[in-house]
């Protein structure tokens, strides 16, 4: 059991990863921000449910996921905001982005994947969860994790810079 203030202090170390997870789920920066805020408040309300010695980041991720699935996504779909133009999501043109053209392409391509695939890609390939950890976190069989990753890889296989060249691939991403 942890105190509210322990959670608050620990929470501050995971805000950016939570935002990134929220962005992977929602494909929208403002929604990601709201998700992190709601996650923080929910975690503080439920601080007594956190078991000291277990991973705070996983606990926070699961809270964020539950808020997304049960509250935010449901509401967005109800209000007809379920679809976001992936090209609007992450990177607009700007000097800062010029240095990361390929990173922008990868992110935008991932955001064109179905939600379940991009969430699995984030958890396994970015957050570093093993297949079994990801399966447990998402409450799915390991086979589902593998088939989502396979589908994502097949969809993304065309984006290799060697195949396209930075300039033309950037044009295509528009």
């Amino acid at each position: 059991m942890a105190s509210r203030d322990e959670i608050k202090i620990g929470l501050s170390q995971h805000l950016a990863r939570l935002w990134r997870y929220g962005l992977a789920l929602s494909s929208a920066r403002d929604v990601a921000e709201d998700l992190v805020q709601a996650t923080a408040l929910r975690a503080l309300e439920r601080a007594d449910q956190f078991q000291s010695g277990t991973r705070l980041d996983r606990w926070l991720f699961s809270i964020l996921r539950s808020i997304w699935l049960n509250e935010v996504r449901a509401r967005r779909i109800r209000e007809g905001q379920g679809f976001v133009d992936p090209d609007q999501v992450l990177f607009s043109d700007g000097q800062e982005i010029e240095t990361n053209i390929f990173a922008g392409q990868v992110l935008n391509a991932v955001h064109r994947l179905p939600e379940a695939q991009r969430e699995t890609v984030l958890l396994v390939y970015v957050e570093g969860l093993s297949y079994s950890e990801a399966a447990e976190f998402l409450g799915t069989p390991i086979g589902t994790i593998m088939s989502r990753l396979a589908a994502a890889r097949l969809a993304l296989g065309k984006l290799r810079p060697a195949d396209s060249g930075a300039a033309s691939a950037r044009g295509n991403a528009k």
């Binding site: 501050s12 935002w19 990868v106 970015v126 093993s130 589908a151 097949l154 969809a155």
Partner: protein, 259 residues
């Protein structure tokens, strides 16, 4: 004929999630089944640099705004504000160990936006704590230092956390080689540390965002360690290493002019 089971097996192979026997079985089939090999190549091509790309996204987190919102809605209790400052009563060595443990516990690709400063620190405890553990550093300390890209990612994160523009260029020092970039915390305030080697001797450059008052460059000598420190715009700065006071002061002057 490729089915979903094959796809799953190939992905698990690519992600190194198969045991030796299973890997061998996949390799045998890849050698004799051109269709499977073609599928494998397509799946392999989809293995993009996800982590590096998403680390770029991480640097775009509107951390200040998120923190401010959370702080406004759920401030820390007074009891915790004082509990968050235990180092004041700890020996420098104990504080140093605390700092080190925190530093090591943090994966380099994971951003560590520490809590905002709880209270403006008026004394030099953080400098003593840093001096305490830097005096333990040796040439070998950075043997497993991060690669350049990890350090660049860490610098981007640190820039956000500390609110200062840190880049490979702005922290470069002639004759010194960059070793490791870390985010630590002292007394609830984020503390960035950039470590270099100067002809084999460790030199550290630290920045803490603790709201301390502006102070001119001052040089201190503790045993073999020379420590140059100053404060500007709510941030405390420190350069320390087992070198002459003149050498450390000269490095500090260079950095002071940039921040």
């Amino acid at each position: 004929m490729i089915d979903e089971t094959d796809d799953c097996r190939l992905v698990a192979y690519l992600d190194n999630q198969l045991d030796k026997a299973e890997r061998g079985a996949v390799e045998t089939r890849l050698n004799i089944e051109p269709d499977l090999r073609a599928r494998f190549d397509r799946l392999a091509a989809g293995g993009l640099p996800f982590r590096a790309a998403f680390d770029v996204a991480l640097a775009e987190t509107p951390l200040e705004r998120i923190r401010a919102k959370i702080d406004a809605l759920a401030p820390l209790s007074e009891a915790s504000r004082s509990a968050a400052r235990p180092a004041r009563r700890m020996s420098a060595a104990a504080a140093a160990i605390g700092l080190l443990v925190l530093g090591w516990g943090i994966g380099h690709y994971i951003p560590v936006p520490s809590a905002p400063p709880l209270v403006a620190s008026e004394d030099s405890d953080w400098r003593q704590a840093v001096a305490g553990y830097v005096s333990l550093y040796t040439t070998q300390t950075f043997t497993n230092a991060e690669d350049t890209r990890s350090n660049e990612t860490a610098l981007t994160q640190l820039s956000q956390t500390l609110g200062v523009a840190l880049s490979p260029v702005s922290i470069a020092l002639p004759e010194l080689t960059l070793q490791r970039v870390e985010t630590l915390a002292y007394d609830g305030a984020p503390l960035g540390q950039i470590a270099y080697l100067d002809a084999g001797e460790p030199i550290v450059f630290c920045i803490i965002r603790n709201g301390e008052k502006d102070a001119p460059l001052a040089i201190d000598k503790k045993d073999e360690l020379a420590i140059a420190s100053w404060a500007h715009d709510g941030r405390g700065y420190l350069v320390a290493g087992r070198a002459s006071s003149d050498r450390v002061a000269a490095l500090a002057e260079k950095l002071k002019a940039r921040f």
